[in-house]
Symmetry: C2
Subunit: 374 residues, 2 copies
């Protein structure tokens, strides 16, 4: 202790002298280059996406770079694609255990650990991406998500959104709800549960297997994300009809999960940098998805002559009824799932009228009355 | 120089000793509390909003707090409401001159300085808030905005969005486009230009004058923002019909402007903190607007029995045609305005089909087929 005090005195003397230096710049460049090197956090981020996969993998890189730059290098995060350190779906185990500091993926991947996690990604006929963001912040979602991720030893942040997804690629026409009977479809998550309830067979496939599976006839239909990501996988080469809307995932939340002990070890300013970077990354990812989908849709329609089709009204109506039944049943046996689901439904109820008179009526008018190059 | 080197040697000795300290924590708490105090930037932010005005004034506070916290106090921004240092519309002059470091407002307030600025806020039948964000980042908007704000000696960032606005409060029914003839309406910006072209008289009023003006019959109609902000001003007490959609401002960009010299004087990490805080604040403000509008709309409808009305299709169709004519004429005499307008129109053209099959069709289906408490 005496020794420490002596050092403290030296420090005081030094500081006094340093303060006399005529240029403030000399002081400010001095700190990050020397002392701050002592408190660098070299962190790894594992992801569930192929390295630099459009929008999702690139989103993780954008997020990490923001943190690195805004912290002046005090946190250095290195991003790893799926399989580089651990396979995609082992990302949570690696972070839970503390072997890896943080991860980036989607909440429904962790439903095997905490069932309630899947409702954070999206619910069929649920919320738009902006409504999801608002629910997390203003509707109680962040608190519920932190409760869920704490069970996995992690801190949770929303970190991106896929935007509204598409209904999927089908090799036969969907005219009635009966057409789902016997249909073999790749559709994960809660949407898959609804397709099962409609009589379909749900198959789980990784992104890389999608094209060959629909080409070979091993599956009759699949949904992946939307134009931007679907074009990247070349699914248009085999998928006959491209259906909309994405009733099952009107938005798709991406998650950032940080080992809780590592999170708690950070000083307040670095915590804040991560928090605001997750929000900024969410916006950057959404921006990229919109611009990417704009271009990719035009490419699919004009260059690849994709056959775009709306689900018939009658089919959407029955899918909505079925979705509610399936969700009620699924959540009935788990209190936390029920709580999360009900909270989202409350926010949706409050959103429907507002979205009708604002976004929906505006988009209707713009589509009908604006002259635009088709 | 010799003197400086001597100090440098002292510093080396000090650092060597300090490095021997057994706890890294002692070092990391030592820096922000002592040395970092030397390089603090004490900045003022003037705004065009009343202090803590819902969503807008509070948005400026949120933005400043993010920067203060994420920088560990290296930047300390104090926010001032309109009139506290300078009146609302003199905020840009104060920042341009360098008297004040930064400001928060809306781009169209500066159209008297650079005409092209107004197109950055919104254009009639233009982009949704998310499309606006995407245009700035991926459609060339940031570059154009920086060009515009450079003429005012400032750096530009998007910093918030009002969300889709409402069509406004009217004391008479709007059945045809002829009903705008002779109508005295408070509607600023490009929407006002369209109303003028339709034969209306456009009046400019501050927020505080809105209620009394429509109550006294001095004006027949007004638009402010949307349910959340309109409720705060009590406009429902006098406005007879509440029309939708907000064809004139489907989104409303808020701006952060920073004196260019002050901006350039910042170290890279603090620049990055401001940049990501502006994106994070944009999201937080949008989140608050959605949740606030959800609740306020219910209050207006259920508690205050507001008479909500859609503009008739024929009126919207004619407003769309008129908007295009007015914008073409307005932008024809100014190259920069023309360039900005055309860039937005290109992004809109690319967005219409995508928004039709994603957001629009989803919102249609949700509204029609989901059972919800009305």
């Amino acid at each position: 202790m005496g020794n420490f005090l002596k050092k403290k005195n030296n420090r005081r003397k030094f500081l006094k002298k340093t303060a006399l230096l005529s240029t403030a710049a000399a002081i400010s460049t001095f700190i990050p280059q020397t002392l701050s090197a002592k408190k660098t956090y070299n962190w790894k981020m594992v992801t569930t996406w192929p390295k630099n996969f459009p929008g999702l993998g690139t989103g993780a890189e954008i997020f990490a770079n923001m943190i690195n730059e805004a912290s002046g290098g005090r946190i250095n995060i290195t991003v790893f694609g799926s399989g580089e350190i651990v396979p995609a779906f082992e990302a949570m185990d690696a972070v839970s255990s503390g072997a890896i500091e943080m991860g980036h993926g989607g909440p429904y991947y962790w439903k095997g650990k905490v069932a309630a996690a899947q409702y954070l990604s999206a619910i069929p006929f649920g919320l738009t991406p902006q409504e999801q963001n608002s629910w997390f912040e203003k509707g109680g979602g962040q608190k519920l998500a932190d409760q869920i991720y704490k069970k996995m030893g992690c801190k949770f942040f929303v970190c991106g959104n896929t935007g509204p997804q598409m209904g999927g690629w089908f090799n036969k026409k969907i005219n009635t709800i009966e057409d789902f009977k016997g249909l073999k479809m790749r559709i994960p998550g809660l949407g898959g549960e609804v397709i099962k309830a409609a009589g379909g067979t749900v198959v789980n496939l990784h992104g890389g297997e999608l094209l060959t599976s629909i080409q070979s006839g091993a599956i009759d239909a699949l949904e992946w994300v939307g134009p931007y990501n679907d074009l990247a996988f070349g699914i248009y080469k085999a998928g006959k009809y491209y259906y909309y809307p994405g009733w099952h995932e009107p938005g798709g939340v991406l998650d950032c999960f940080i080992n809780l002990k590592k999170w708690n070890s950070l000083p307040t300013d670095l915590k804040k940098i991560i928090e605001i970077s997750s929000k900024a990354a969410t916006q950057k990812i959404t921006n990229e998805m919109i611009a990417g989908n704009n271009l990719a849709l035009q490419t699919l329609l004009k260059k690849h002559n994709v056959n775009l089709k709306p689900f018939p009204d009658e089919v959407l109506k029955k899918l909505a009824v079925l979705s509610e039944k399936v969700m009620s049943k699924l959540t009935s046996s788990d209190n936390l799932s029920k709580k999360v689901y009900q909270s989202i439904i409350n926010f949706r109820n409050a959103s429907i009228k507002r979205s009708e008179i604002s976004e929906k009526k505006f988009l209707d008018s713009r589509l009908k009355y604006v002259n635009y190059e088709k």
